[in-house]
């Protein structure tokens, strides 16, 4: 019989939406468990450079929320855990959770990174867009929470150096996954998004054309402790003079099975363009787009500022990308405004503004269905937008459709409100019975 842990509320996903929902519940003195599949909390946001439209550094906003959640007396974090199932159970829900193996004893590890320094194997680091290497035993990144190492067994030679150097004997090659149950009265799904797979658009090279990168990779190039600490072209380390953004590279395109708008790409492209013009003042930056969707508070003004800064906006969807001269990248598009017709342009570095696809499919895990866009279905989208088909289970952030950070945070508050109302209603009925 697996051990059972009891909480008032359960939050699935520790991205910005999940953290905010958990904090809003914990601040009302409810006991909250957060289950996160990744080894660190912080979600996609902690991996970003700066965020629109205020250009705050993403870390400046995310780290305090991460720290607040990690240290909140009412919040318990379960990182590197998979949600196996979520079912209704009496008045509440039961989640079956599997603690994945870090091969490092979580109680013992003090995050000193001795193991990491000693490990002889370099592995391409997804946290750095694959542009740099980490070791086969590692801490995800410097502001990760918790600061616990984990081992990448696929790249481990079992040389044992990490175990020998660990001051607390935390390395455990024999660790097994642990299953446990969380019982709570209510749950919030904040399972987030993934970016549109590159393979969906053959014309854009499927990731095989050098110097064509994704916007999330560009976030890393722009981030303070990015792989190169500056923006360089990955094929040969050249500082690019000309950078292009391809909008709707993973959205609004039925030919790749993503008909909907991903809502954030226009703004993040504009934001990155602004950051780039700061980092590389002499570089030409071009954004190829169909419609600029700067709809949020301050967004249109942000867009107009970018235009005024000299960032070039070209109307037209790029049709194909091909390898150009000397590591350059050639884009083919129809120039609509100057009557130029079909033309092509070469850039040193090209960024695909990929869209959002659902981060988690509830099918087989819980009795909640998804919309035609594969995001979690909501049942009262207008006046109670966080309600799902399952009683007492609410949804927040990009789990219920593409959303930017501001909207995700606000919606997380709304989900927390629904959850706390649900808790209040249960407690009242309990009282009434008593």
């Amino acid at each position: 019989m697996p051990k059972i842990l009891k909480f008032d509320a359960l939050v699935i996903g520790a991205g910005i939406a999940g953290l905010q929902a958990a904090l809003d519940l914990a601040d009302q003195d409810f006991k909250v468990a957060i289950v996160e599949k990744d080894a660190t909390i912080g979600g996609k946001m902690i991996r970003l450079s700066k965020v629109f439209p205020t250009l705050d550094c993403a870390s400046c906003i995310t780290t305090p929320k991460m720290a607040a959640a990690a240290h909140h007396e009412n919040i318990t974090l379960f990182t590197y855990c998979d949600l196996q199932s979520l079912d209704r159970n009496g008045n509440g829900v039961t989640a079956a959770v599997r603690q994945k193996t870090r091969f490092v004893d979580e109680e013992k590890c003090i995050g000193c990174r001795q193991c990491e320094y000693q490990c002889p194997v370099y592995v391409s680091d997804p946290e750095q867009g694959g542009f740099s290497g980490r070791k086969a035993i590692y801490i995800p990144f410097s502001n990760a929470i918790p600061q616990i190492a984990l081992m990448d067994v696929e790249n481990c030679t079992l040389c044992g150096k990490c175990a020998r150097v660990c001051p607390t004997q935390a390395v455990n090659f024999f660790q097994e996954p642990q299953d446990f149950l969380i019982e709570a009265q209510t749950a919030v799904l904040a399972t987030g998004f993934e970016v549109t797979p590159l393979e969906n658009k053959q014309q854009y090279g499927e990731g095989k054309i050098p110097n064509v990168i994704t916007a999330l990779q560009m976030e890393r190039l722009l981030a303070p402790h990015g792989p190169y600490n500056r923006v360089l072209r990955p094929s040969d380390g050249m500082e690019p003079d000309s950078i292009a953004y391809i909008q709707c590279a993973g959205s609004r395109d039925k030919s790749m099975g993503v008909p909907y708008c991903s809502r954030v790409c226009c703004m993040y492209a504009i934001k990155q363009a602004m950051l780039l013009s700061g980092a590389l003042p002499l570089a030409d930056i071009t954004i190829y787009y169909m419609d600029i969707r700067a709809f949020g508070k301050g967004y249109e003004q942000f867009f107009q500022n970018a235009k005024a800064m000299g960032i070039e906006f070209v109307k037209g969807k790029v049709a194909t990308i091909s390898e150009g001269e000397n590591g350059g990248v050639r884009l083919h598009y129809e120039s609509q405004e100057d009557g130029g017709g079909v033309t092509s342009a070469e850039h040193d570095l090209v960024v695909l503004s990929l869209g959002m696809v659902a981060g988690w499919n509830p099918d087989g895990h819980c009795r909640i269905s998804t919309g035609s866009d594969a995001f979690i279905k909501t049942v009262k989208p207008k006046i109670a937008p966080t309600l799902t088909e399952m009683e007492g289970v609410f949804v927040a952030g990009a789990a219920a459709g593409p959303k930017d950070i501001v909207d995700s945070i606000v919606e997380a508050g709304a989900a927390a409100m629904e959850a706390s109302k649900y808790l209040a209603s249960l407690n009242r009925s309990v009282k009434a019975v008593a």
Partner: protein, 103 residues
Amino acid sequence: MALVDPEFTEELERFGVDTTLECFNCGTCAAICPLIYEHFPRKMIRYAQLGAKDRILENSDDLWRCLHCGLCTHTCPREANPGELILGLRRFVIANWRGTANV
């Protein structure tokens, strides 16, 4: 330019084309077309949307540049079927020629 004639897209339905207005003019078809020719085929599609019959007839020869290779249709983000649209316009033009010849 001439007035917009919205009836035309319905006229085109006779020639097997019913997606004329589904195109949102992103330009993918023009850029992916192996011809690399001006704004083709979007230009023709846009004229069809506007009902600019005279423009289509004036430029009708361009329609026969199309290879009917289907790349535009395959990559159209709106599934507006630009390739078939061109084919439909060819039919319209031929009917026009032949109709005119009969007069």
